[in-house]
């Protein structure tokens, strides 16, 4: 009998926990409230199914528990009942799948004119690249990665030279503009994950993956890595700032382009080489 009470408590307790507990998703900051809605639909359908099955079980255990003189029915099959249940389940599943596939179609269809931004993962930090004045990102290759070209841009591609590079810094995005995030990694799998945007995608060395979204409110959001990438995985954090259009322009104007960076780091590395040579000559 204890089991009947526990089963009922467990079904109702789970519902109460769902409703009353403080743990719920973070307020959304992107256009993907369709995804949130699909989750809500799924919670309703699965919640009803769960409570119904557990309560039915509790009832059966209560009503048909063994007592002296009880005998069980002998009913091997009931074709009608079985086909009704199968049909009902199919409808419930379809009610979740249909909106799911509809939203998935939107998720993978990038709108025309979405701005492109590149995120490059490496153990264990985030780099970003935005197209320069030409509006195009230059080509890249992991083979081109060197200390002064950490993102592996192709120096012979004219489109690369004016690309804006943000090394291990913040990414800024203008609010209300759709953005296609191109994802790349130079070492292992990573996953660009901002919980408030609801979207995420793995970054795979050797290929370019993507997702798109429209930031819907300004603010500062934490970037996490969501694909195990070695011992530094939990520390691989970054920041995305969603700005108003003006703030975004102001930020963008302060950033350095690939050609500027190459020029300055050439200077740096020369200086370092000189310093090292001096140190060596001074050593006994």
């Amino acid at each position: 009998m204890a089991v009947v009470v526990i089963l009922v408590l467990l079904a109702l307790g789970s519902v109460l926990f769902h409703v009353l507990s403080p743990w719920w998703w973070t307020p959304i900051a992107s256009n993907w409230n369709y995804i949130d809605n699909t989750i809500i639909i799924t919670f309703w359908i699965t919640g009803i199914a769960f409570v119904a099955v557990v309560l039915f079980m509790a009832y059966c255990v209560f009503r048909f528990r063994h007592r002296p003189g009880n005998t069980a029915d002998y009913e091997p099959e009931n074709r009608r009942l079985e086909s009704w249940l199968a049909t009902g389940t199919t409808l419930g599943v379809a009610a979740m799948l249909a909106p799911g596939l509809f939203v998935w179609h939107q998720f993978i269809t990038v709108p025309e004119g979405a701005a492109e931004v590149e995120v490059v993962g490496q153990q264990w930090l985030w780099n970003f690249r935005l197209p320069g004045a030409d509006g195009k990102l230059g080509t890249t290759d992991a083979r081109d990665v060197t200390p002064d070209n950490p993102l592996g841009l192709n120096r012979n591609d004219a489109a690369s030279l004016d690309d804006v590079i943000v090394e291990a810094g913040e990414l800024h995005l203008p609010v209300g503009k759709p953005v296609k995030v191109l994802l790349r990694s130079v070492d292992v799998l990573h996953d660009f994950y901002v919980p408030e945007f609801r979207a995420k995608m793995d970054m795979v060395p050797g290929m370019i993956t993507y997702f798109w979204f429209t930031p819907t409110r300004t603010g500062t959001f934490e970037v996490l890595c969501a694909e195990l990438c070695g011992v530094g995985h939990p520390q691989m954090r970054g920041t995305v700032v969603v700005d108003t259009e003006d703030d975004y322009r102001a930020w963008l104007a302060e950033q350095q382009t690939f050609s500027q960076l190459t020029a300055s780091s050439d200077g740096d590395s020369t200086a370092t080489a000189v310093a090292a040579a001096t140190a060596q000559s001074e050593a006994p």
Binding site: V3, L10, P22, T42, F64, A72, A86, L97, D187, V231
Partner: protein, 592 residues
């Protein structure tokens, strides 16, 4: 259409099949150590699996201490955490669940339940266990190897698994892990071929396929699936070993590691994921289908009622087994594969919910108008239904491609798969242990200890994994050694993590009660007799308990009916064993 219920017509004379073909042991060594008796091999498999499972349990304690109290206990550092998480996952999925269900229950139950004297290839069966043991030892060796075990996560995704940012990546860890898996698969194949051929060729006279107990159907289908799925893992492991040892680039593109160009190029990390999940998803059902089968028999026996919709149950097992080969990429919705795959794999994944739901309905409809004995096996079966339904329903979130996007790689996934393929099948294993222990040892397990074990395990495990879903809903990622300061995570999350950790310690400790019970009852348990549950299936009808080598004495059993003749109207008792001729015809003959 075959009527599964009726007898063969008339009582056949039992065939006298002398067990001349069996190898009979001549010494203690060949009887108990290098034994060719499937029942001894089953116990060897089960003991080894439970022993290595205890290692996984201790690892989970250490991980939960870290997650629940990151500032209090300094027991594990990041490297150790990732090593433990990897070993815990791999041990539980492969070396415990797969080995225990197929090697343990498969070996013990298949020959007895289909009415055979033993597996058809006893020698290969013996080899299967010893190779499995070798695989376990190689796995354990990695704890003592330089650099320790691999910390790549149980999915072993390259390139990370082979690089120095991951524990064991450049040391012995990953090599021993891949070698151990390869050895395991070789050993499993020897056992698996045995189970399949025994079910197809070794059944007693009258035991048609559609009269087999669902336990046998579940284990049989799972074994066929394993024989088809493990080769994908096998080749993935071999290719990855080549990448690590010979410098090939099957899974390795051009990589810059910590500023250094590595001599790899042209390989595909996603190819590994496809191979891994082509094995990995069927693997879920390789664990689940034996559990489905066993729990059907537990419910039917202890509710004294035939399983509802037997034929539908058989077909559901077969259909789930087939479909599970075309859903693998639902583990890869955010892997960067072609996004159009999402439509196909979301659809197949949600279709699989229909036969699975039918199984659940039929379990609860078996309870309807039953005569439910709340024995320990029945309690565990009820707990299985609750946790399996819960875990199955959250699968509808993760299988529905767009809903998976925010939840993937979060604690929601961890909660889901622990509930559905951790807690639920393990509850069935416990139920099965309480159910079949009397046949294996001749004695009952202690009821009071069993009740303590059941209540702590069931309520505790639900308390661990149900709230964990909500961590994932908030966005807490999985495989984080420490959450640290994260802006969107409220402080209450740390309280919840501490609660989950305390529950995990308690539930883990409750398993000691079971282990104690298993040992204590061997001597002190109540004498069970041959058929304490008054069950219909053949293993309860053996002339001796525990059954000796050869199982049946001089005469093999003849089967006259399906496995579920409980509470048949007009029958003198509430069960009719499968090897009893049809009562109506017997009485008819007696009358005439």
């Amino acid at each position: 259409m075959v009527d599964v219920r009726s007898g063969l017509g008339e009582a056949l004379p039992p065939p006298e099949v002398e067990d001349v073909e069996l190898y009979h042991p001549h010494s203690w060594w060949t009887r108990y150590v290098f034994s060719q008796d499937a029942k001894i091999i089953a116990i060897q498999y089960a003991t080894t699996a439970i022993a290595i499972g205890m290692v996984a349990l201790v690892l989970s304690w250490l991980m939960r201490l870290q997650l629940g109290f990151p500032d209090t206990f300094q027991l594990v550092d990041a490297e150790a955490y990732y090593q433990f998480i990897t070993m815990h996952g791999m041990i539980m999925v492969i070396y415990l669940l797969t080995a225990l269900f197929l090697g343990g229950f498969g070996n013990y139950l298949i020959p007895l339940m289909v009415g055979a004297r033993d597996m058809v290839f006893p020698y290969a069966n013996m080899l299967s266990y010893w190779i499995y043991l070798l695989a376990v030892l190689v796995l354990v060796a990695s704890f003592f190897a330089p650099g320790g075990p691999t910390g790549a996560g149980w999915t072993l995704y390259p390139p990370q698994a082979l690089l120095s940012g991951t524990p064991g990546g450049k040391d012995w860890g990953i090599i021993l892990m891949l070698s151990s898996l390869i050895i395991f698969i070789i050993g499993f194949t020897m056992g698996g071929l045995n189970y399949v051929v025994t079910v197809l060729q070794g059944r007693a006279r009258g035991m048609t396929l559609m009269r087999m107990p669902l336990t046998v159907w579940g284990i049989f289908t799972a074994t066929v699936m394993a024989l088809l799925a493990f080769p994908a893992l096998f080749v993935a492991c071999v290719m990855m070993l080549f990448d690590r040892l010979l410098g090939t680039s099957f899974f390795m593109p051009a990589i810059v590691e910590m500023g250094e160009q590595l001599p790899y190029g042209g390989g595909s990390p996603i190819l590994f994921q496809h191979l891994f999940w082509f094995f990995g998803h069927p693997e879920v059902y390789i664990v689940a289908l034996p559990a489905f089968g066993i729990v059907s028999d537990l419910i039917s026996t202890h509710a004294r009622k035939n399983i509802f919709g037997y034929r539908m149950m058989v077909w559901a097992i077969v259909i789930i087994g087939g479909l599970s080969f075309v859903v693998w990429a639902h583990h890869m919705y955010v892997s960067g594969m072609n996004p159009y795959f999402g439509f196909f794999f979301a659809t197949t994944t949600l279709i699989i919910a229909v036969p699975t739901a039918i199984k659940v309905y039929n379990w609860v409809l078996t309870l309807w108008r039953g005569n439910i004995h709340l024995t320990l096996p029945m309690l565990f079966a009820l707990a299985f239904i609750v946790t399996f339904v819960n875990g199955g329903l959250t699968g509808l979130f993760l299988g529905n491609v767009v809903v998976d996007v925010p939840l993937s790689d979060t604690m929601f996934v961890v909660a889901h798969f622990h509930m559905v393929m951790g807690v639920a099948p393990i509850l069935v294993i416990f139920g099965a242990i309480y159910h079949w222990y009397p046949k294996i040892t001749g004695r009952m397990l202690d009821e009071t200890l069993g009740q303590i074990h059941f209540w702590i395990t069931f309520i505790g495990a639900y308390g661990i994994f149900f709230p964990m879903h909500y961590l994932g809903l908030i966005g807490v990622p999985r495989r984080y050694y420490e959450l640290g300061e994260t802006a969107f995570v409220p402080d209450s999350v740390h309280t919840l993590n501490a609660f989950i950790s305390i529950m995990a310690l308690i539930v883990g400790a409750a398993q000691i009660v079971l282990l104690f019970n298993l040992v204590w009852s061997l001597r002190h348990g109540r004498e069970a007799g041959g058929n304490p549950w008054r069950a219909t299936t053949l293993e309860w009808q053996t002339p001796e308990t525990p059954p000796p080598h050869g199982n049946w004495g001089k005469e093999l059993p003849v089967v006259y009916r399906w496995a579920y003749d409980y509470s048949v109207p007009g029958a003198p008792e509430d069960f009719i064993p499968q090897n009893q001729p049809a009562p109506s015809r017997v009485s008819h003959e007696a009358a005439s």
